[in-house]
Point group: C2
Chain length 446, copies 2
């Protein structure tokens, strides 16, 4: 029985694309929506690599969730991490940023917590090869890329110089391909004439991919065109390659013949895999839901968890028909879940249609003026792919101001090869001794 005084409480875990579109679908419903996220911002993840490479600032790809949802008066935001779910009592357990615990009751729960970087059981790789999922990751990678050239400039041996001028990327999906293209562009154009000792254009970029194609999800023709474009940019592609070890100075890679080769590279970036965050396992435990190998939660065709019609799972962390972890899937599944709750609030009794994903296409940017885009039967690459990429990203960038700022930053970056956001922070040796290490806001140099 729904009390008419207390509105139905909808808790949305995660303020990514899925959570945001679920909240929007409920904006005119007489419900109380709470969006819970460990971060205060909604991140436009598809452009994260441009923040890492110094084209865009944090504010251009991350907007405060509160600002995005400000006009939806039924929606509130809560900065906290979901640690557990009590499916019987319908409670989410939360940890606030100061470590204190609190809980939040729900009538409907929409889970859209996303996925985090996975090292396939080799978590020790993380110290040497950061992932690319968060703003913190992007700023860390920005520092590593630009600092590597600085270190090369002052290297005392030829070997050290070569190690600093070699960048290894593990994973040939869109993020790996985009970062590879960016680093070659930085080396060949952005840093042009800035160094006196090294020739930044000589920097090697190695891309390691476990399967036999980069951008495999785009289909063979586009994958081959992407590989050709990458090679023409000077990226060294290593396909069918399994990374077996990573340390501060390089990595070991096994090829398909079983031969292991060592590559010297002081900068290794990891974009190879994803796994569900711990809260996904907690949801599965609380509800008896199945998880796939990466920890995604199996759902019914209407995105609910079997036996729990009040819990829906959306976005990357949802396991349904092997749908890929794309922004577009998150948007559509989040909106679907929000609409389903709205229909239920409105008292519609008709069985909802199962969720179907409408593939609007995928796009990956490779370098200035070059992208691959797949829209249904349409395959675009080169300049046409790039124009399509530009159009798609402008259409989806949340908020007019971000859009305008991004267009300006892109215009400058494309026209002049320069990058406005190259500033990076390092360990703050300047701070007085009283400053505890935990207070430092930047990481020590490697």
């Amino acid at each position: 029985m729904q009390d008419h005084i207390t509105p139905r409480r909808v808790v949305i875990l995660g303020g990514g694309f899925a959570g945001l579109f679920a909240a929007r679908a409920l904006r005119r419903s007489p419900v109380a929506v709470t969006v819970v996220d460990r971060r205060a911002h909604h991140l436009f993840q598809p452009l994260l690599y441009q923040c890492a490479s110094g084209i865009l600032s944090e504010g251009q790809i991350a907007q405060p969730l509160r600002t995005v949802l400000r006009r939806h008066h039924s929606v509130s935001c809560l900065l906290a991490e979901a640690t557990d779910v009590d499916a019987g009592a319908r409670l989410v357990h939360l940890r606030r940023p100061d470590g204190s615990a609190t809980e939040l009751p729900y009538d409907d729960l929409i889970v859209g917590v996303g996925m985090r970087q996975s090292y396939f059981g080799h978590d020790e790789f993380a110290a040497h090869a950061p992932g690319m999922k968060t703003l913190t990751d992007a700023l860390d990678i920005r520092r590593r890329i630009y600092q590597a050239f600085e270190m090369a400039e002052t290297a005392t041996t030829a070997l050290e110089r070569q190690q600093w001028l070699t960048f290894a990327l593990v994973g040939g999906g869109p993020t790996g391909v985009e970062l590879a293209g960016q680093i070659r562009e930085i080396a060949g154009h952005t840093l042009d004439r800035e160094f006196r000792t090294i020739d930044s254009a000589q920097a090697r970029v190695l891309l390691f991919e476990g399967s036999d194609d980069v951008l495999g999800a785009f289909g063979r023709p586009l994958a081959h065109r992407a590989a050709r474009t990458l090679r023409s940019l000077g990226v060294e592609l290593h396909l069918d390659a399994t990374v077996t070890d990573i340390d501060a100075l390089g990595l070991s890679v096994r090829d398909k013949d079983g031969t292991t080769t060592r590559f010297e590279a002081r900068t290794v970036l990891w974009t190879a895999g994803v796994e569900a965050p711990p809260i996904a396992a907690a949801v599965a435990r609380a509800t008896g839901a199945a998880q796939d190998r990466a920890g995604r939660i199996a759902v019914e065709p209407d995105l609910t968890i079997p036996g729990h019609p009040e819990i829906r799972v959306t976005g990357d962390v949802m396991s349904l028909n092997r749908l890929p972890g794309l922004a577009e899937v998150a948007i559509q599944s989040g909106a679907y879940a929000g609409r389903a709750v709205r229909h239920s609030v409105e008292g519609r009794t008709k069985q909802p249609k199962p969720f179907t994903y409408l593939d609007l296409g995928s796009a990956a940017y490779i370098s200035r003026g070059r992208a691959v885009v797949k829209v249904g039967p349409l395959h675009l690459s080169g300049v046409f792919g790039w124009l399509a990429w530009l159009f798609i990203h402008l259409a989806f960038l949340t908020g007019f101001r971000s859009r305008l700022g991004a267009v300006l930053s892109w215009s400058v970056a494309f026209a002049t090869s320069s990058r406005r956001e190259r500033a990076f922070t390092m360990s703050d040796a300047d701070a007085p001794a009283g400053r505890a290490p935990g207070q430092k806001a930047s990481s020590p140099p490697h």
Copy 2:
């Protein structure tokens, strides 16, 4: 005897205003200039508070030193920290970002290492009250300000909520005044209608100043006008106030009658004093130069160290005629030192004129449309002060693109009260376990 093959080696310590203008003055001389800095960027320090408050991005106030100096082929940049000077052997000892040591010989040394935050012997305050000297500081303060409102929104007691909604600033110089104005603007305008539980406009901003005036350097009339403006914005001014203790929940302050009062405030920011970095003491030790109480190095009227005509000290770390630590003093003294080396290279034997500081005026921004500006006998405040402030900062912002970007960001910020760069990073709980704490690029929540 100067060898005609090897050009004279000029080493500049510090890539701030002083170092940059020293390098520029030498750009057409047949010398080999090396600018050494612990950071890869030149920071436009006067606008650092706007990065902290979310108006400007890092890239808008910090440009890579290499980019700024790219066209000066005789100038190279080196990312390293100067740890010691051997004045006899004319060597600077350096530590590279990876901790390795190296050294750099010089024929002329120009010291422009600036000043760092001082806690007047209370370094333990630093953990609770960050300073405002570096980009890292600014991003830390940005996180603290915006996160405080988030914490207030979910506070479980009225006391906790009030503590999070109280901001204390220690130090009534330009930085303290500017930050106080910014926080009141954020509370009253930027965050308008974003929170559901708290009223952000209720946030208290306390400003503690040890002397009997804020902005004392601007003279009594402007100081009083600034105080009036601050009070009208809702800033609570505490003059003749000495901070005796700071912890995570607040601070204790002694007034001029000797009475100590406790203020509850979870966010305390420190802008009260400066001290010379350790390398200044090393220079003094190596040369026998005197240091003032804050560690500034005493120089001759031509900025050289007594007995060491090959070493010049410029900018904030220079002690001469009690000149203030202003960007304009750094620019003029840096340019003077660079010119002096140039004249010496050119073989001019005439005794150089002593350095004289031409006071072009000072400016402090208080809030939207309000600033105080002193240019010679001209005292401006309110809108006229603000227009003068705008003109001065546009004129001095290095590089055309930064200028254009800043104007756009300011236009948006002034017209809509919104701030584009509000994104902040927190401890990355999402990272797999293998990620060492040292690898995290953000600090844990307090």
